[in-house]
Symmetry: C2
Subunit: 250 residues, 2 copies
DNA sequence: GTTTTGTAAATTGTCAACAATATTGTCCAA
DNA sequence: TTGGACAATATTGTTGACAATTTACAAAAC
């Protein structure tokens, strides 16, 4: 048997033409080809850091590791290359993409724009329940930042952002946003944020929720936008600091 | 011989590690694999409409047409699938993606956000020369709209937008923006804009340039954003009209 | 000691054959 | 005629083999 479908195939009343792309079952099937599985598997390895930026993906070794031939593997890496997670160099091989600082900063800009759109859209979608939940997130993070529980802060922070993005009910926005965040994982200097900036960052979170409550679309868009832009600035500052530090150490 | 390189290979002083992704020569080489050529070729066929949304890409016929085997062709289609230009259905084949209206509207939203970012960034980059050039575009379009030279309007309109995006000197923005625009080409109802809205649209263009001249980032971002959102609204309206028309015709 | 050069090994690029699945068309029965 | 089983065909999925290229390494030249 060639494929192991994750879900049972549903009866499809498709005519010969292209199936309507909105069809949910087929989206599931689509991810179930061997190539699709490999693509997801490799993406996980990359995003979890098992495959590190700059590392080479050896076709033979990987195909042996997964127990498949090189064909589907190459198709999977081509897909990852198209999505910017790996680099393809003819006759040299495939390498996990290593995103330089300049590009990371650019990604922050686009991410800010998309996140700002989320803020703008959410004004029309926000409910009282959502607001209390959001303020709950912010209060929790305030407490964690005050007590310096840095390890606990990040998961809550992530959940907060994911809840916001998910609440937009805007598939394209969600997809694009996640792609941008994924790419930022491939930047070496991602984990340079200093603990002191946590309280600062959370003040921005509160302003974001306040702006949602205010019902002012422009204010909300700008609050969301600036939050990401300031995160960018914080990374930039941390970067400069380590540069100076390493310069002083020489 | 396997490859026909577009440019001669330049001497590369690379160590064994992954080549720095910024290196320009390698970017050129990267596009020169057989798969890369096929990918570009297929993309052209799709974006020019030679391959229409919903149409099937037969592997055998295409491989014969291009004189290559199915392997590289499949890799190329996988890359296109990852970029959302085609749909992959296991055991059924590859189809040119047909973007439904709902998704097209969503794409307009994200495009508005990215275009708004362009407006925000350009405030800091705009020069007097650019402003006169931009006003020139707007004046030209005003004249063409007044004289109802609709065929001539669109190329100028396109050039105007491309000039703006290109002037940002922001690679990530440019890439993302172009991807979004490409995707919109795959929506059946793209060419429904009514001639009457041209003058309206160009009024927004003038406001965009005015806002750039004003030096007000927020105003500029909002002007750029709203221009795309209004284009979306115009498409929406045109869509509803044809719906009513076909409904009335029944 | 360093650089260059040439050969062997490893790796990537491509192809063609085969297996599995989907599609088409035909025959038969109701 | 219509509808369903069934065979024939077409198409996709996967694999392994071979060609071309790069890389690694050792020997020779400076």
């Amino acid at each position: 048997m060639y494929f192991v479908y994750n879900l049972v195939m549903v009866e499809s009343n498709l005519d010969k033409a292209a199936p309507e792309s909105g069809s949910e079952e087929l989206q599931v099937l689509r991810t179930s080809s061997l190539t699709g599985v490999l693509e997801r598997e490799l993406q996980n390895l990359i995003l979890t850091g098992n495959l590190k930026p700059g590392q080479k993906l050896n076709e033979i070794k990987l195909s042996e590791r997964f127990g498949v031939s090189r064909g589907p593997l190459r198709e999977a890496t081509r897909a990852l290359a198209a999505r910017g997670l790996v680099d393809f160099f003819p006759n040299r091989g495939v390498f996990v993409r290593s995103i330089p600082f300049d590009e990371a900063l650019e990604i922050y800009d686009v991410r800010a724009a998309v996140f700002g759109l989320a803020g703008r859209l959410l004004v029309d979608l926000v409910t009282d329940d959502m607001l209390t939940k959001l303020y709950g997130f912010v209060d929790t993070m305030d407490a964690l930042a005050r007590d310096k529980h840095f390890e606990s802060y990040y998961p809550v922070n992530l959940e907060f952002h994911q809840f916001l993005i998910g609440s937009t009910r805007h598939k394209t926005l969600q997809t694009e946003y996640n792609h941008l965040v994924n790419k930022l994982h491939l930047c070496r200097a991602k984990a340079l944020v200093q603990p002191g900036s946590l309280a600062l960052s959370n003040r921005e979170h509160r302003e974001m929720v306040d702006s949602l409550a205010s019902g002012d679309k422009l204010r909300s868009q700008e609050a969301f936008f600036r939050h990401v832009e300031r995160a960018k600035r914080r990374l930039q500052a941390a970067l400069k600091e380590t540069e100076n530090a390493s310069f002083g150490a020489e």
